[in-house]
Point group: C2
Chain length 280, copies 2
């Protein structure tokens, strides 16, 4: 069950069922979600606005997890951290309630998925610390604008993701390998892709590896650990970026007593523009 959910972590298939939701602004969408009227994936919504991954942990794990993110900024790009008990975002959106404004939440006890729910008001504790982390949706939009192909979007698939042999820097109880996403590129698009994604340091940034998958411990590029395999055309090079599955996988591996995440694909939609996340 966990695995299947992770598979859809970066699911991009646009939501259906609310005819004009793609025309709504972030605040309007969060309102719909808050009222329980939208509990589907958020890909394709509020295009141009940053979406974020969610991890909520009891305070006793918070320093270690914050430190893990600080030490591993590429897979764990922190966009906002709320103090213990706070559930209103301050930087990413005005007046957003983290307990209700995400379409679906996954509840984990000791690393095991217990349920998915539409709100967490009744589960909320005063010592909960909320972490919002960047997502590669933001830089993919920039790649497309520059005519750099994004294969899984072309093929209407989920991005292929792989567990690598690159260790994250451990912090307290949190440790584990880096998970990466892969986008195959023709050689003349590699430099533009590096330059563009370098600007998005707060949403995974530049690639972590270009070329032979074996170099980072990936034995079979056709069999991603999560997501879907995509076509690598003749002459194309496999390019790998740190992936936001990493912090969730690491959090689960530590088997915290309790942990809440967004249900994969069901992200927090922020008021921040992707362009505001770009460096320089």
């Amino acid at each position: 069950m966990e695995m299947k959910l992770v598979l859809r972590f970066c699911d991009r298939r646009p939501g259906e069922g609310v005819a004009d939701i793609t025309q709504l602004n972030p605040k309007q969408i969060r309102n719909l979600i808050r009222k329980g009227k939208w509990d589907k994936p958020t890909a394709g919504l509020a295009m141009g606005n940053a979406q974020a991954n969610l991890v909520i942990l009891p305070e006793k794990y918070a320093f270690d997890f914050l430190l893990f993110c600080q030490r591993n900024p590429k897979p764990c790009p922190l966009l906002e951290v709320l103090e213990p008990g706070k559930f209103k975002t301050e930087l990413m959106a005005s007046n957003a309630d983290i307990r209700t404004d995400i379409p679906r939440y996954s509840i984990y006890r000791r690393g095991k998925l217990e349920a998915t729910v539409k709100e967490i008001k009744n589960l909320w504790e005063k010592d909960f610390v909320t972490f919002l982390l960047g997502c590669s949706f933001s830089f993919e939009e920039a790649l497309l604008r520059a005519k750099v192909p994004v294969r899984h979007l072309e093929e209407n698939k989920n991005v292929p993701m792989y567990i690598t042999s690159i260790p994250c820097k451990p912090a307290g109880v949190f440790h584990g390998p880096m998970v990466v996403s892969m986008r195959p590129l023709p050689p003349d698009k590699i430099v533009p892709a590096v330059k563009i994604t370098s600007r998005y340091a707060s949403v995974h940034g530049a690639p972590v590896h270009i070329g032979d998958p074996l170099e980072i411990g990936i034995k079979n590029i056709k069999r991603p650990d999560f997501g879907d395999p995509v076509t690598t055309k003749r002459g194309e090079v496999t390019v790998f970026w740190a992936c936001g599955v990493t912090p969730q996988a690491v959090a689960m591996k530590a088997k915290p007593d309790f942990c809440i995440t967004h249900t994969p694909g069901h992200m927090f939609i922020s008021d921040l523009l992707n362009e505001e996340l770009a460096l320089f």
Copy 2:
């Protein structure tokens, strides 16, 4: 007393007394310091290597302070954070002991300077959390290489620093205004200076303000709050960078029961090259 120390926070006057210390590598210098043979400022030592500011706080303040740094990366660029009780660096140097390898430490109780000492082994507690933060020495070297003038170095002064009206984003008990350093530049050097320092995001990064000091609440450019006034020549523009005095000032303002910092100017000399801190 506190003020005077802060004045010398970025003191660059090269140390004297050990004839050839400027020729030693970081490990050799740390060894001298560990043996108590060097307790002077570190400016001018191990040129090309990054030096770091030190803040040590009991664990109960650690999450708030880490969060403060996460929210204010320009004034508080974290280079390494050690888990509670750890005193060996892992990222910035191999086999460096944070309790002995800094020339001089300042001991604060409830925000008041109590003493400066040459080592802190006898003061060490199992719940101490160590924060090492970047320093503008790193980007000044890059500016000089690109023939961008650094006035306070030309005039053999300490960089002028100012308390601004720019609020830092508060976190828990930590809050306060951003402190900035100022370097006047001829107009044709502004763009190169922005580009160069932008690469050094882990050591304060791009300027926070260019032009009229009043815009950021600085009323008299000739009277810096810390450091020395420098000459602004006709036609030059005042350019302001976030300054590493900020986290120390903020830590003191919160009046923690206990806090240890490096004594201003007496920095941690790391094995990292400044160039390794540059982005891209």
